[in-house]
Structure formats: structure tokens, C-alpha cells
């Protein structure tokens, strides 16, 4: 390993450690904020900061180490301070820790870290006892030893259970191996069954031979009988072995199940681990918006799948940001309506049956349903006259591009967000509900299946092929007899009523593009219909038959399926068969929502379709929302390859294209488009940071219609799009 590689690896290790330490520090800060004179907090802080300092020095980050040093010294001074600790001290430490967080994140992203000098200066002023402020007095080697020493007592205090670090892909491999071993056991079981039926057959034959032998002359009879007897004994022995194998196999099955369970446990992390981060966000946003917010965690015990939490955390952050920006009123306003000046946001994590629930509540103004309605009308999602329930109206805030805020702030109001939160939650197999009480606050409730790795799936059969559907998605199942099924499927827009709700009916085989109709055998046949309730529509999917339900581990289908959202993955049944697990939401929204929309929009003029190709999700979303506000219909793609896939589905009127993208860059993509007669007429606007002349000339050669560099004026972009579309017509 070269020295550089070694350094890079060291840095990665340090970053990982630093994040852990900062998390620990953040949770100490949370405790401290509740009791400003809690001395144990100071010693905890001091210890963690010291470790961080040592690490920073090891990876040659003198600035970070200096800041950690100042913070450490400051914490130490608090420990010996005789007068009560002031809130100011807390705020200062918080600010310092925050800066360290930014520093670490910048290092992780290989960006230039933020300056720390101003922070250090603040601390040097505050620290009363200025004992040996200049660190370099201690020789480096000695300091390293010191760091080492500081780690030892730490592990001692945390002697509750020993914890080791294991790479997550190793666990993934273990999990796969365990599944493999399970499949082999099941196959073995089949062989044993087979063996046992052969044995029974052998016994039967032996018996008939015994019967037949009676008529044979006695001398020969005697010999044969004794042979037969020994064969009967042999068979008995074999039967004994078989039953032993069977019992061992069933023990193995039990152990494997247990092993599987334990492996799933290894993916679990305490929900608590994300709390400090959420607390930090709340504080930051509160400060930025000059709103006073108190963040309390009512309940956070329990574990959650690591994967799940990782995917969910940004959404939780977003909900908190929203709660502060939209929910909590300004201090003056709060005083006016005789609420305490400081707003309250609380979080609760708990288990409900097989689901994990997360609630985020604020005591702000609640959702202004009338404003939501007006906005929905403005966006053409609703007509003024339509009667909708309060809850239905509130759900409009989950629509893409929906924000009732007139002014767009840095924090929220861009309408990028709630729809993404909703999509993420849905993607994880859960759902998001909202309760709002005008004047008293809003509550967001996220319900998720407890772990993503093991789910119960319903096995459905379509044209002889079995598919899995996650049971947590299914609202209910009803049966239709053959005539009802025929009648309904012949209608263009069949509906089923269940519990006073309307469900649009489709044959799952048709939605998958396999076959338009199921095979109708006999009139007495019943067809199961699975009912699904999604946020904005209800679907009823008819299947040929059900094949039971089973616990499944959903595995990824691999890179070839990345572009396809109608499959959530595949799973192996106990007999080793692979089946595809369907993403009902995507299938239903493609098959049903489209037909609904088509019937709705057939009269109105078609909106021009813009395709936005950019590898940054932020740019994609911002551009999408902005264009949708101006009545464009938008398709997004994350790179050239993705875009090519999406082109097949819908041909856009114009393409906005980034240059630098993974897998297939903009120029390559443009080349493909311009050389394809089907697509060559689509105008392309190339938007990029790097508008080098070389790029430009190559792009113009390819027939790129317009070049714009980031950041561009939104109006310029609109004008350009309009111009190019007019030209095209």
C-alpha cells in the first residue's frame, strides 16, 4: 500500500470514528441541555473530544484538532467551575460541535473544510484558565500514546456487552449463505421423502413375495424365506435411518430458522442512534428561522432495521424542518394566541404489531386546509366545487410540486419534500398519514414494516406463473365468480365497491402486460381480487388464483432490473424456486392511474413534456417542480442510460441535459438521440457547469440546440424552452 493509500484509509477510519464520537457528543449535549449543571456531561464531553482531537492529529488535520482541543479545555473548565453554568456556555459548545460536524462532513465529501479560526477565537476568550494553550509543546509520539490511553478506560466503562465492528456486506454474505444452506436442507428433505416412498414400495413387494412363496415346494421355500427375513430386517434398519435423518433435518430446520432470525437481528440498530442527529437539525433550523423550538423525544426505545433507518432519516429530517418552518409560529404570533413562546416538537418511536411507527408532532398552527384546497384548485388537481373530506384535502400536500407557501425559503416551501417523503416511505413498504388540528398542531405518522429483510408475501398465480406480493400492501381480498369477473373485465373502467370505497379493477396479468384476460374454465370458479389502498387512488387487482402466503426474504434482482420499478425483487421459495416479487404500487399506478388520467385529460390540451436528465436529485427535483409550476409535464432521468430507458416509454418534446453524469454522459446520450431517427427531432438544451469550448464545439456538432451554463436564470430557461418548442412546431 502506498503512503497515500494508507493515509486515505486512515482518514476513512477516522471519519467513521469521528461520526460515532460526534453522535455520542450530541447525545451528551441533549442530556446537558436538560440540566445545565450536570457534571458528568462535562467529563463525557471532555473524554470524547480528547479522543477526537487525537484522531484528527493522526490524520493530519491540525485545524480540527485545535478546535477539539479548545472545546476540550472549555469542557474541563466547566468541570471545575464553581458558579452555575450559564446557557451561553452550552450554546457555545453546541456551536463548536456543530462546526466540527461540518468539518467532518466536508472531509468526507473531500471538500474544503469550513474555517475554524473564528470558533477557536471565541473559545480562547471564554476559557478562564489559559493553561498551555499551544499543543505542539507535546511531542507527537507522546500525544499518540495519550490518545491510546484515553481509549482504554472508555472501553472499560462501556463493559455492558462487548461490541465489534463487522462490515455490512459480510453480514449480507452470511445471510445469503444461510439462505443457501436452507435451500439445500429443503432439497435434502425432498430426497428423504423420495427415499421413504421407495422403502414403502420395497416393503410392499416383499410382502407379496412372501405371499407367493407359500406355494413354492417346501425345501426351496425355507432358503428363500430366510433370505426374505433378512431383507425385511434390512428394510427396517433403513427405515430407522430414514427416521433419524428426518428428525435431524427437522432440528436443522429449527436451528436454521433461529440462525436466520439472529442474522436479521444483526441488521437492527437502536432507533435512539438517530435521535442526536434529529435534535441537531431541529436546533439548526430553529436558529435559522429565529423560532424557539423545544425538541423532545417521548419514546425511542426499540430497534429498527439499519437499512430502513438509513433510508428514512432524510425524510425524518425533512418532516422536522417542515414542522418548524410551516408548523411552529413565530414567538410573537404564539404569544398572541396565548401559547408558550417556545414551540414544541416531539417524536415517538414505537412498535405496533408487525409495524414500526414513528410520530412527529408539533404544537403549531396546524395545516391550513382552505389554503391547501385553493392551491389544489390552482394546480388543477381539484375543482372549486368538489366536496372533499378534511383528511383527503390534507393529503394533497403529498402531491409533487405542492407548497402553499408563497415565498420560497431555503428551509422549505419549494414543494420538494413532502412528495419525496411520501415516496420514500412507500418505497420502504410503509405509509404516511397526517392528522392536523387547526390552531393546535400537526402530527405525521409513519408506519413501516419492521424490517425490510423478512416479509410475508402472498403468492399469486398469473397464467401459470407464481408471483409474490408483499402482504403488508394488501388491504383486503374479495372473491368474484366467473361471470362477475368476465363482466367486470369487459368494462373499460370497472369499479368494485368494498367498505364504501371504490376500487378500480384490473386483471394483474394485463397490468403486467402478460395476457389481457384470465383463462375462464368453469362457471363455479372464483377469482381472488386483491384490494389496495394508496394515498391517491385505490386499486383492485384480479388474479387467477392464490398459492398461499409465505415468509420471504426479498433480494435485489440485480443491475439489469434497476430501471424497472414494477418488480421489487425476487425471492426463493422453500422448494428452491425463484419467484418475482411485484411492486404493486408501481404496477397499479401505471395501469390504473394512467387510465384515470387519460379519461380525465382527454379533453384538455396536452401539456408539453420536458425530460430533465441530471445526476443530482436536487437539481432534478427543483427543475421538475419549477417546470411543473409552469404547466409542463416532466419526466426525469438520472443519467443517459436511465434517460434512454425512459425514452422508450414516453417521447418528450424537449430534453434538458447535463453533461457530467455517471454511466452515460450527456454528450454520449445526445449522440445516441441525434442518430436515432425516432428521436432526432427532439430539441436538446445542454445545461452544465463546465461550458468548455471543446465540449461546446462537440455538442454543436452533435446538433445540440442550445447551451446554458449553471446557474441559469429560470426565466431564461423558460424562454429558451418556449422558443425551441415553437420552432419545432
Amino acid at each position: 500500500m502506498s503512503q497515500e493509500e494508507e493515509m486515505a484509509e486512515l482518514l476513512n477510519i477516522f471519519l467513521e470514528e469521528a461520526r460515532d464520537l460526534l453522535d455520542a457528543i450530541a447525545s451528551t449535549l441533549l442530556t446537558w441541555s436538560k440540566d445545565l449543571n450536570n457534571k458528568t456531561c462535562f467529563s463525557d464531553l471532555k473524554r470524547d473530544l480528547h479522543t477526537l482531537k487525537g484522531g484528527a492529529r493522526m490524520v493530519n488535520q491540525p485545524k480540527l484538532s485545535a478546535l477539539a482541543h479548545e472545546l476540550e479545555t472549555f469542557s474541563e473548565s466547566l468541570l471545575t467551575q464553581s458558579t452555575p453554568v450559564e446557557r451561553k456556555a452550552y450554546d457555545l459548545v453546541f456551536e463548536g460541535v456543530d462546526r466540527m460536524n461540518l468539518f467532518i462532513e466536508a472531509l468526507a465529501k473531500k471538500e474544503a473544510p469550513p474555517p475554524v479560526e473564528d470558533m477557536i477565537a471565541k473559545f480562547s476568550e471564554k476559557t478562564p484558565t489559559k493553561e498551555v494553550p499551544k499543543e505542539p509543546a507535546i511531542p507527537k509520539a507522546l500525544e499518540a500514546v495519550k490518545t491510546e490511553a484515553s481509549i482504554v478506560p472508555e472501553t472499560k466503562t462501556a463493559a455492558v456487552a462487548e461490541v465489534i465492528r463487522v462490515k455490512s456486506d459480510l453480514l449480507e454474505t452470511l445471510n445469503n449463505l444461510s439462505i443457501e444452506s436452507n435451500i439445500i436442507r429443503v432439497n435434502l428433505g425432498h430426497f428423504v421423502d423420495n427415499f421413504s416412498s421407495h422403502l414403502t414400495e420395497a416393503n410392499r413387494i416383499m410382502k407379496t413375495v412372501q405371499e407367493k412363496i407359500r406355494v413354492v415346494p417346501s425345501e426351496a421355500n425355507l432358503h428363500i424365506t430366510s433370505d426374505i427375513l433378512s431383507m425385511v430386517n434390512l428394510n427396517k434398519g433403513l427405515a430407522q435411518i430414514q427416521s433419524n435423518i428426518e428428525s435431524l433435518l427437522s432440528q436443522q430446520a429449527r436451528i436454521e430458522l433461529e440462525l436466520q432470525d439472529r442474522l436479521v437481528d444483526t441488521r437492527m440498530v437502536p432507533f435512539n442512534s438517530v435521535v442526536p442527529r434529529l435534535g441537531r437539525i431541529t436546533r439548526q433550523v430553529g436558529e435559522e428561522l429565529k423560532k424557539r423550538v423545544d425538541f423532545t423525544v417521548l419514546q425511542s426505545e426499540g430497534e429498527i432495521d439499519r437499512n430502513l433507518l438509513e433510508h428514512l432519516t432524510p425524510s425524518l429530517e425533512h418532516l422536522l424542518r417542515n414542522a418548524i418552518d410551516h408548523g411552529i409560529e413565530s414567538p410573537e404570533k404564539r404569544l398572541n394566541v396565548s401559547k408558550p413562546e417556545t414551540g414544541k416538537i416531539s417524536l415517538r418511536f414505537f412498535r405496533l404489531g408487525n409495524d414500526a411507527c414513528i410520530e412527529i408532532m408539533d404544537d403549531g398552527s396546524g395545516i391550513n386546509v382552505e389554503a391547501v384546497k385553493q392551491k389544489a384548485v390552482k394546480l388543477g388537481l381539484l375543482t372549486q366545487e368538489t366536496e372533499r373530506s378534511q383528511a383527503d384535502l390534507i393529503r394533497f400536500i403529498l402531491e409533487p410540486g405542492f407548497s402553499t407557501r408563497e415565498d420560497v425559503s431555503e428551509i422549505s416551501g419549494r414543494g420538494v419534500g413532502m412528495d419525496i417523503v411520501n415516496t420514500v416511505v412507500k418505497g420502504l413498504g410503509g405509509n404516511l398519514s397526517i392528522e392536523s388540528n387547526p390552531g393546535f398542531g400537526t402530527k405525521f405518522i409513519i408506519r413501516l414494516p419492521f424490517t425490510t429483510s423478512i416479509n410475508r408475501a402472498l403468492l399469486v398465480v398469473i397464467q401459470g406463473q407464481t408471483y409474490g406480493i408483499l402482504l403488508s400492501n394488501v388491504e383486503s381480498i374479495v372473491l368474484l365468480n366467473m361471470n362477475q369477473a368476465k363482466e367486470n373485465l369487459n368494462k373499460t373502467n370497472a369499479m368494485i365497491k368494498h367498505n364504501n370505497l371504490d376500487y378500480t379493477l384490473k386483471y394483474l396479468g394485463a397490468a403486467l402486460g402478460v395476457e389481457e384476460r384470465p383463462i375462464f374454465h368453469k362457471a363455479t370458479e372464483n377469482f381472488p381480487v386483491l384490494l389496495f389502498k394508496f394515498s391517491d387512488f385505490n386499486a383492485a387487482l384480479l388474479v387467477d388464483s392464490l398459492a398461499g402466503s409465505q415468509e420471504v426474504v426479498v433480494q435485489s434482482l440485480g443491475p439489469q432490473f434497476k430501471l424497472m420499478d414494477i418488480f421489487s425483487g425476487a425471492t426463493m421459495l422453500s422448494d428452491g424456486r425463484v419467484i418475482i416479487v411485484l411492486d404493486v404500487f408501481s404496477i397499479a399506478s401505471r395501469a390504473i392511474k394512467k387510465t384515470i388520467e387519460v379519461s380525465k385529460q382527454s379533453s384538455s390540451k396536452r401539456q408539453p413534456v420536458v425530460m430533465v436528465v441530471d445526476d443530482s436529485v436536487t437539481i432534478r427535483t427543483v427543475t421538475k417542480n419549477f417546470l411543473e409550476r409552469h404547466k409542463y409535464s416532466v419526466i426525469t432521468a438520472k443519467d443517459g442510460l436511465d434517460a434512454l430507458g425512459k425514452l422508450e416509454q414516453e417521447k418528450p418534446d424537449i430534453i434538458l441535459l447535463d453533461i457530467e453524469m455517471p454511466r452515460m454522459d450527456g454528450l454520449e446520450f445526445a449522440e445516441k438521440i441525434k442518430s436515432n431517427p425516432n428521436f432526432s427531432d427532439i430539441p436538446i438544451i445542454m445545461i452544465t457547469f463546465v461550458a468548455g469550448e471543446a465540449h461546446k464545439s462537440r455538442a454543436l456538432k452533435l446538433g445540440i440546440n442550445k447551451f446554458m451554463s449553471k446557474p441559469y436564470q429560470e426565466t431564461d430557461l423558460l424562454d429558451t424552452i418556449e422558443l425551441l418548442l415553437e420552432k419545432k412546431l
Binding site: 445469503n176 449463505l177 439462505i179 443457501e180 436452507n182 435451500i183 398469473i462 406463473q465 407464481t466 373499460t492 384490473k506 396479468g509 394485463a510 397490468a511 403486467l512 402486460g513 402478460v514 389481457e516 433480494q555 435485489s556 434482482l557 440485480g558 443491475p559 439489469q560 432490473f561 434497476k562 430501471l563 424497472m564 414494477i566 418488480f567 425476487a570 426463493m572 428452491g576 424456486r577 425463484v578 419467484i579 418475482i580 404496477i587 401505471r590 395501469a591 394512467k594 387510465t595 442510460l641 434512454l644 430507458g645 422508450e648 416509454q649 452515460m664
Partner: protein, 183 residues
């Protein structure tokens, strides 16, 4: 001379005149690959890119998939997507027979199965030169994925580059048409 002496004599002679056992030398110029047949041509693929060879497995089809995408199979608990190599390249599907095999290619953390007509075994080429394949085959469709060819007994062995094929954007268009119902 007694018979035993004669035997010893023969042994001595044998040893004295015997050729040395050839030492197994694998030079760097040796090219090792798995040979297989496709459309009546001999192909080879670099040994290290083929991780496994399977008999025809049982598999589940993917609804609405392109003809060349045969389905997904269970490779010891792992999902293995299976592509009909000939079908993908020439859109002329391969007919499965008892000789058909699946070559498992490991590429960037994922496994891909490719169905071929027949596997011929390990082929070793000693310092033969890789020639451009253009003159050798009329199989135009294969050209984008061919690195060149070896020539042995006046017959070409075409070098198949699976990694290139796996990176072809078309390889990711599994669905035959858009999944949608128009009624």
C-alpha cells in the same frame, strides 16, 4: 545372465534414455479460456471472466420480457438472470438442447448467466497472435463484443468479451414493450 539381472539392466537402460518429464510451464504468453459454440462458430472467453458453468437450470420467466431474456434462476441462493447470448446478439433465439450450458459471468459484484449451445472445455493458446476478427467471421452482429480471434488449424476461435456486452445499454432493456394497458 540370470533373468533378474536382465530386468535390472532393462531398468537402467530405460532410465538412462528416458526423456525428462515435461515441466509444466505456463508462460505469460499463454492464453487460457473457456471454449464454447454458438451459431456453428467456436468462441472463447477469458478463463477468469467465467466463474462457473451450469447445466440448464429451472427458471422463472419475467413477464413481458424480451425473448432473449430467459428468466431468473436460483444460483445457490443468489438470483441469476439468464440471457440467451445468441438471441441477444442476433435476435435469433437459441434452441435449448441437452448440450446447452449456462456460462456464469461475474462482473462488478453481480452475476449474469449466458446460455450457449455447447461448452467445449478449456482452451489454451500458446503465444498465438490475436488477430482482428473482421476478416474471420461474417457474424457481424457479434462484432461489438469481440476482442479478436485466435487461429488454430485454419479455424478461428473468436474471443468474446462478456464485460463489454454487459455494459451495453441494450442489455438493460429487458421489457419487450411498455407495461401498460390501453383500454
Amino acid at each position: 545372465m540370470d533373468p533378474f539381472e536382465t530386468l535390472l539392466d532393462i531398468e537402467r537402460n530405460c532410465k538412462a534414455y528416458a526423456l525428462n518429464i515435461p515441466r509444466q510451464i505456463v508462460t505469460e504468453r499463454d492464453w487460457l479460456g473457456i471454449g464454447f459454440r454458438l451459431a456453428n462458430c467456436n468462441f472463447v472467453s477469458r478463463m477468469r471472466s467465467v466463474s462457473e458453468i451450469l447445466r440448464w437450470p429451472s427458471m422463472s420467466t419475467v413477464p413481458n420480457a424480451e425473448l432473449w431474456f430467459k428468466g431468473i434462476a436460483n444460483l445457490r441462493g443468489r438470483i441469476l438472470p439468464i440471457t440467451d447470448l445468441q438471441g441477444f446478439v442476433t435476435s435469433n433465439p437459441h434452441k435449448e438442447s441437452s448440450l446447452s450450458r449456462i456460462l456464469v459471468i461475474h462482473f462488478e459484484e453481480a452475476f449474469y448467466g449466458f446460455a450457449v449451445e455447447q461448452v467445449l472445455g478449456i482452451e489454451r493458446f500458446f503465444g498465438e497472435e490475436v488477430k482482428p476478427a473482421e476478416g474471420l467471421i461474417e457474424l457481424k452482429d457479434y462484432m461489438p463484443y469481440v476482442q479478436g480471434a485466435f487461429e488454430r488449424d485454419q479455424k478461428p476461435w473468436i474471443i468474446m468479451d462478456f464485460e463489454k456486452l454487459i455494459q451495453d445499454p441494450d442489455f438493460y432493456h429487458i421489457l419487450a414493450s411498455k407495461v401498460e394497458v390501453n383500454n
